[in-house]
């Protein structure tokens, strides 16, 4: 039987280009902020779940050098690495550890320090992911032109660009709707003191003026490569009472994660059966399962807001449909009507989301943090005005096939 688990504290490092700290200090910034927020002593924490995208920050195993910075010495500490999804997966791991009855108080933190790498993400991260496949393709006669073309639209950004075209065909939306979503992300980020790309009063027209990188994706649609860390502290229902936590907490009502077959090309250039990247079966199944576990029957009515992992604006539209907040192909109409704004009926990414701040490892965890802050009503300037009873935190990554969904609420699920 799963135990009820609450998020009793949240912490974030200031996200952006952080040349004033090293990785250990960046992580520590989020961890100590969370410990302070929870109002507990470091000794109260029984175990640590840590997560980081592998190799994107110039150090392959940064977790090996900072146990003492976060008070983990002499305690269990495990690292998670699931690509872009890692923040979501680490948040799940911390939850599992408390829900299972193994520990009562667990700290989960994940981070990224892109600026440590010469070309953010690319030099040490993407290349080591792609190196084997590229070597193999060269062996069977790939020429340099094809190699260069891959550089033109490769990796997650490349796949996302095809995905944007497929979502347009599926929903009937236009590039202008991507502009609207990106402008909302930058406007909302301007109200969030931890966010990276802030642009107060940014309009869709401002985004439309930015350079077309590769149709249908503009410069203004692309997320930044940020440095940052996000942290949550979980406690069992008993521990919440024992520690005397009196401030509002956010309860984890249900989680689910689903891995799909990799998109486009698998290991050693093998074909895969995923040829519509906008389909995202993994997100659909994760959502259904997480809602079932949370006792949510109608997500459109019962969920009040969501933090979606959307580095590119079409993904906010696509995932908000896959997660059941809008009917298929209808999300862009909701954006036109302002439904997803901070003061709208169904706010999405009031923090500015991943489109405005993307420290990859941190991003999935940051969705959990931001959803929890909305429930605790501690989001300050970007606090949504309406009541938040239930919120969804989503993460996405891998070769577009990993999805995690966490449903948070203002009260524990009664069993």
């Amino acid at each position: 039987m799963r135990r009820n688990v609450a998020i009793i504290g949240c912490g974030q490092a200031k996200h952006g280009r952080r040349t004033d700290v090293n990785q250990a200090e960046l992580v520590a910034e989020a961890v100590w902020a969370a410990i302070e927020d929870a109002g507990i002593a470091p000794e109260d924490i029984e175990a640590y779940a840590v997560g980081n995208m592998q190799g994107f920050g110039g150090i392959a195993q940064p977790d090996l050098i900072f146990a003492e910075y976060i008070g983990a010495v002499g305690k269990p500490m495990q690292r998670v690495a699931t690509g872009g999804t890692v923040g979501g997966s680490t948040a799940h791991l911390g939850y599992y550890e408390v829900a299972s009855g193994m520990y009562d108080v667990v700290l989960a933190v994940s981070w990224e320090k892109h600026s440590d790498s010469a070309e953010p993400g690319a030099t040490t991260g993407l290349l080591h992911v792609a190196f084997a496949n590229l070597s193999y393709m060269m062996k069977v006669g790939m020429d340099m032109r094809s190699f260069a073309i891959m550089g033109l639209a490769g990796a997650a950004a490349g796949i996302s660009a095809y995905q944007a075209a497929q979502y347009m065909a599926r929903s009937g939306c236009r590039i202008e709707h991507f502009d609207m979503v990106a402008a909302k992300a930058r406007r909302n980020a301007a109200k969030n003191k931890y966010a990276h790309l802030k642009w107060p009063n940014c309009t869709a027209d401002d985004i439309a003026k930015t350079e077309m990188l590769i149709w249908p994706m503009r410069f203004g649609h692309v997320c930044p490569a940020s440095d940052g860390a996000s942290c949550v502290i979980y406690a069992s229902e008993e521990a919440v009472k024992r520690l005397g936590v009196e401030r509002p907490v956010a309860w984890v009502k249900g989680v689910a994660a689903y891995a799909d077959e990799e998109a486009d090309q698998g290991e050693s250039y093998q074909g895969t059966a995923v040829s519509d990247y906008s389909d995202q079966t993994g997100a659909v199944i994760s959502a259904i399962k997480a809602y079932e576990r949370a006792g949510i029957k109608d997500p459109k009515k019962e969920i009040d807001m969501a933090e979606i992992y959307a580095p590119f604006p079409h993904q906010e539209l696509m995932f908000s449909e896959r997660l059941g907040f809008f009917d298929d192909g209808m999300a862009w109409k909701a954006v036109e009507e302002g439904v997803t704004e901070i003061d709208g009926d169904f706010p999405i990414c009031p923090s500015g989301g991943v489109n405005a701040t993307n420290a990859i490892g941190s991003s999935g965890m940051q969705r959990v943090v931001e959803a929890a802050l909305q429930i605790m009503r501690k989001a300050e300037e970007h606090q949504i005005p309406k009541d938040v009873r239930n919120a969804v935190a989503h993460a996405w990554g891998g070769q577009v096939q990993f999805n995690t969904v966490m449903v948070l609420g203002d009260s524990p699920k009664r069993r």
Partner: protein, 174 residues
């Protein structure tokens, strides 16, 4: 809190380079050989899963849907459908840098050219390949259009023999 933050305004960058020597990657022996060898005869070969009937191009060894080993090779159509496409702006020097190499400067891509990339599903297959879409203006490309394979003048049995795809014949009511 941290030492660096308190003592210094910013971190310093330490330049470093380390040749890792050999990197050994274990790839399946020979499964792409036939696929690539048949390019010499301008044929596209896929694998057919007996479990679910899916055809994979490029070939796949184990079907991810039924987890069955796939051994049967099949020739597939030269015609396909554009599942999605991207259009690059006219290329300039310094815009496409991959692994430190400027692709335009090095001559791999032409200055001023607009590359159209298509996600192509060949007829009867369940998978897709990313290929350049040739001999068409960007404004004439649409999602779902029918295309056919374009081969090099002289095919040697290498991945580079398949240059890309181009629009199939357009049949309209007159």
């Amino acid at each position: 809190m941290g030492l660096i933050k308190e003592k210094y305004e910013k971190t310093m960058q330490v330049e470093g380079e380390w040749n890792v020597g050999a990197y050994r990657y274990k790839a399946p022996e020979g499964y792409l050989d036939e696929f690539v060898r048949n390019f010499k005869d301008r044929k596209i070969t896929g694998t057919l899963c007996r479990g679910c009937g899916r055809v994979y191009v490029p070939p796949r060894e184990i079907c991810a849907r039924c987890f069955k080993e796939i051994t049967e090779k099949v020739e597939v159509s030269q015609y396909g459908e554009v599942m999605a496409f991207l259009v690059s702006p006219p290329l300039e020097k310094g815009k496409v840098v991959i692994a430190g190499i400027d692709a335009v400067q090095a001559g791999f891509l032409k200055e001023g050219e607009r590359v159209i990339l298509a996600m192509v599903r060949f007829e009867g297959t369940s998978s897709s390949m990313i290929l350049p879409l040739l001999n068409v203006k960007p404004e004439d490309v649409r999602l779902g259009m029918r295309v056919r394979a374009v081969w090099a003048e002289e095919c040697k049995g290498a991945l580079s023999d398949l240059l890309g795809v181009e629009p199939a014949f357009d049949v309209r009511f007159e």
